[in-house]
Symmetry: C2
Subunit: 222 residues, 2 copies
């Protein structure tokens, strides 16, 4: 079987999740860049949409399958490549880790993604400057990331250890790191989240984290 | 063990998912209403947030646990109450069903929920009328529901049968029905989605669907 191919974008947090996940699982893969802005967005190209009708990244070609939606991909990889385990053994703990993931994947990421931010500024007066539009987008992103992180921080604090849940890396960490990267980009006040910051310091020590970071991807731009 | 308690709101699509899920699994439960608009939103009350720090519905008290985030709840119920099975046996099919769920839970529902719509209209000129605000909200919702349903329709068509995936009810159906209810509320042109419509006709025949419908909940308003 040939290596999996990950179609993604260096700065897309959902692509970053899957890069981090595959690296943690020790699954080598090939990256193919899908530029989300250039030429109106390559995710809308005929060839891409034929593979992934959601017009979003990432898409993972693996085991002869074409998978998309990063949560579904994560569950598939966890089922088919169970080591190292990224979901705890018992159902209540699994529900907790999945809830942490869902706060990021449902409450935070979708409401501050590129499609939403592009549509948002069409509501502003037509003569709004580029600066006003950029400030509106960043303010919107900061609001929803901060709100979501306040919830995450409360959820994590009693059950976190070295990582989001106890002392083993889990899917919650896989989802957290990319969202923190986005938070820093738009200037979220991270001093509000001591538990998240502590966990991030641990994640930064991992080779898998480093290899998955947007800044070291072949399609990274300055 | 006492009956599970579902804290939700009649018109919340995430609450509706869990009502439908519990009914399909044959798990009796007690409903407690959390009014999302009255008094600034009961989901923000001190007592509710102590139970669920995300300020969102639903919350499910079950098996001595307090669970939230509807996708995490659905996975927990599937693991602990496996019959009738709502995820297929094989990993590739499970990935497909989860991807259908994720398009709804990540790409559609979050970007048109009450918190987003409330914040959206603050971007309009301050003197905008209530009618303009309502039209802006509905237009926004229609856009993202239509975009998401176009993807879902393409994903479902080759693998649907009587239901979203083959001839057995799955989690994809549990997530679909509440989103279609929302789509109808804001006037989405459903003629674009023949496969979704065909599946909905089948779901409407199920007792579990009928008992979970917003219109028959104790807190339903006209």
């Amino acid at each position: 079987m040939s290596s999996p191919i990950l179609h993604g974008y260096w700065r897309s947090s959902c692509s970053y999740r899957i890069r981090f996940l595959l690296a943690l699982k020790g699954i080598p893969f090939e990256s193919k860049a899908v530029h989300l802005v250039k030429s109106g967005g390559e995710q809308h190209s005929e060839s891409y949409v034929a593979m992934n009708p959601t017009h979003k990244v990432p898409t993972l070609e693996i085991d002869g399958l074409t998978l998309y939606q990063s949560t579904a991909i994560a569950e598939y990889i966890e089922e088919t490549h169970p080591e190292p385990r990224l979901l705890p053994h018992d159902a209540p703990s699994r529900a907790h880790v999945r809830a942490l993931c869902n706060v990021i994947s449902n409450d935070i990421q979708p409401v501050a993604n590129v499609g939403i931010l592009q549509r948002l500024v069409t509501l502003l007066p037509q003569d709004s400057s580029a600066d006003v539009k950029a400030a509106t987008r960043d303010d919107w992103s900061r609001h929803f990331i901060t709100t979501g992180f306040l919830a995450l921080e409360k959820m994590m604090t009693p059950k976190s250890g070295r990582y989001c849940f106890g002392d083993e890396v889990s899917l919650a960490d896989v989802f957290l790191a990319p969202q923190v990267y986005n938070a820093l980009r738009v200037g979220v006040d991270m001093s509000l989240f001591p538990t998240i910051n502590r966990v991030m310091k641990e994640l930064e020590l991992l080779d898998a984290y480093r290899s998955a970071h947007p800044s070291v991807q072949p399609d990274a731009e300055r």
